[in-house]
């Protein structure tokens, strides 16, 4: 045991206060870039960018791509690619649109806005997405067709399968409960947002503490107590700050008045009510937590990264890499369908072009977030931050009034630049 502690001590002298916090430098870098971006846009929009209203909208616009980006991390980590996520989103959305507006209310006679409709609909959509994903994964894993080809086929195929299902028509209105999952039409309100925020803050602090205890129990190096407490404070503060921002965006008084009238009540004069956490954001947070646990703490996740690092070694260690591929693509399909719920609910309709170009946004988000196309490297939080950065760039430029062609030029350049930075960073760290 003595030799395990001798090493860190000798390094300690050369460490400055900042290093002692042992923060993830990549995470910090991305957050830094995001903050600079926000401040920059805020200056150019005369303070319109960093308003609760815009931050709220930015958040709900990011959800759909961010959910898929977490799945894309696993795909790219195992040295595959999925070009079909936009198409998969569209076909899942089509299935759900038909299920909730036609099959369940009319064919099965449940009537419109029956309380079961949204549940069954989502279940059907998720099942279809998962199955299609599994099918693609089976072609890649068991038949050794390159994922690029299988999903390029899927890119052309699935959206148009959706087109045939709906005859290319836009489908609306959707089920009232289903619409709550899209963003602004389904928020928790101030009180419950604070409750959830407080629970999340407590859980994160508890998680950090347990991690520390477990390392200490084995006699491994732990960071100094003050550093641990500082990190806990930052994390809890960030969570509560996020809730505060979403709560600060108030429901417009006219809309609020109508909501009261709908319930047959009179709105008290001067009442201010914040939106709070959108349900769609809660879904994203749940996905992020589950996917992070999968990546870091489950065998499935361990095998994903091992296979990405050295497929041969993974197989020699008894890992069934073919089945693993099926599972990864099935998970991607599931997440595409989940995104389809959020996206179609946010737009209040199913249109045939829903999720167009999402495959590129999703891949870009994962890659900007530090997922290496050479495999074996990538993080869930990185992909989500990547999605947020992409969305901020796009909304910010639109607010500033940058022309559409120039917007695309900037996004393209940023993608390449971000990957270049990442490569430089890894070089300096000495890892590949």
């Amino acid at each position: 045991m003595s030799d395990t502690t001798s090493q860190p001590v000798s390094q300690q002298t050369s460490r400055n206060l900042f290093q002692q916090l042992e923060l993830d430098m990549r995470l910090l870098g991305m957050i830094g870039a995001f903050v600079i971006l926000c401040i920059g846009f805020n200056i150019f929009t005369d303070g319109r960018f960093l308003t609760p209203r815009n931050l709220f909208n930015l958040t709900i616009q990011t959800v759909s791509v961010a959910i898929m980006a977490t799945g894309m991390v696993f795909i790219i980590v195992t040295r595959h690619i999925d070009l079909s996520v936009g198409g998969l989103l569209a076909v899942s959305s089509a299935v759900m649109a038909i299920t909730q507006t036609d099959i369940l209310p009319t064919a099965l006679g449940l009537g419109f806005d029956h309380p079961l409709i949204w549940v069954v609909t989502i279940f059907a959509g998720l099942a279809v997405g998962t199955l299609i994903g599994a099918l693609q994964g089976w072609l890649v894993g068991y038949h050794a067709i390159p994922a690029f080809i299988v999903t390029l086929g899927g890119f052309l195929l699935w959206r148009n399968v959706g087109w045939f299902m709906t005859d290319g028509q836009t489908i609306a209105p959707l089920d009232a409960t289903f619409l709550k999952l899209g963003g602004i039409n389904g928020t928790l309100g101030e009180f419950w947002s604070w409750v959830i925020g407080a629970i999340a803050a407590v859980l994160s602090v508890w998680g950090l503490w347990m991690g520390r205890k477990s390392r200490a129990a084995h006699g491994f190096h732990v960071k100094p107590m003050w550093a641990e407490l500082t990190v806990m404070g930052i994390v809890a503060g960030a969570i509560l700050g996020f809730v505060a921002v979403l709560n600060a965006y108030h429901i417009p008084s006219r809309k609020l008045k109508r909501m009261f009238e709908a319930r047959g009540e009179v709105m008290p004069e001067g009442l201010e009510v914040g939106y709070g956490l959108p349900i769609s954001v809660l879904i994203l947070i749940a996905v992020a937590v589950v996917m992070t646990v999968i990546a870091k703490r489950t065998r499935f996740g361990r095998y994903i990264f091992a296979t990405g690092g050295n497929p041969n070694a993974a197989e020699l260690s008894g890992i069934n890499t073919r089945l693993l591929t099926v599972k990864i693509f099935a998970l991607m399909g599931f997440l595409c369908a989940l995104s389809a719920v959020v996206a179609s609910a946010r737009l209040s309709s199913h249109t045939n072009d829903i999720g167009t170009l999402d495959e590129l946004r999703v891949i870009a988000a994962a890659v900007i977030g530090g997922t290496a196309l050479s495999g074996g490297l990538g993080t869930i939080y990185g992909a989500i931050l990547g999605a947020l950065v992409m969305q901020s760039l796009q909304s910010g430029m639109a607010m500033v009034g940058v022309d559409a062609p120039l917007q695309n030029i900037v996004v393209g350049a940023v993608l390449v630049f971000a990957v270049w930075i990442d490569i430089q960073y890894r070089k300096r760290l000495g890892t590949k």
Partner: protein
Amino acid sequence: MARNPHRNAGETPLVEMKDISISFGGVKAVDHVSVDLHPGEVVGLLGHNGAGKSTLIKILSGAYAMDSGEIRVNGNKVEIHTPRDARAQNIETIYQTLALADNLDAAANLFLGRELVTPFGLVDDAAMESECRKIMGRLNPNFRKFSEPVSALSGGQRQSVAIARAVYFNAKILIMDEPTAALGPHETQMVAELIQQLKAEGIGIFLIDHDVHAVMELCDRASVMKNGQLVGTVEIDDVTDDDLLSMIILGKKPGEAAA
């Protein structure tokens, strides 16, 4: 075949590979080869580059499926189709290529495919690192890089991780494909001691090594291959370095011309 005096006559071998063949395309990488291994015995596999040594043992470790032949463990015919099957027979392998996932740390590689889990079924990294520190303390006390990915390790350090992985899980049959190729003299000596120790515990070891002196020192018998075929199996006590060398180079058993 002459029997080693300290091996009981008629004792069931730990492993028998009988009449094994495999070809890749037109190349007969292993051509009707039979070898066996007894408990507490070290059998050296020798031969020039491309003789088929690694291919032969990869059949035993489940990495390749043989075209024909039979494998027996403790006298019972076994089907080994995947590395998992081999592990189930307590066969552990140190591959020539080491087979490490470069992006994972030493502990994750040590337990790859057999992770320690918490009561909730989540992988228990702290427990694995702790076990990893224990075994590395035995095999390579200078090893310190427990939290870096193994891509940051030296060739020898990587090799000790691969050795640790084969030794940790209480193998009964150990396959070592050039285990000391990247090791310094001191580390090589430690592996030699490890082999003696495992042998004393009754483990059977197939050792592939190009160093004839090491084979003479560590092995009880040696099987020599050439161009995918078995030249012959000899008792180490009956032969000299030169005999082994001529078997490798000329592909003839000593005294074969005379007999």
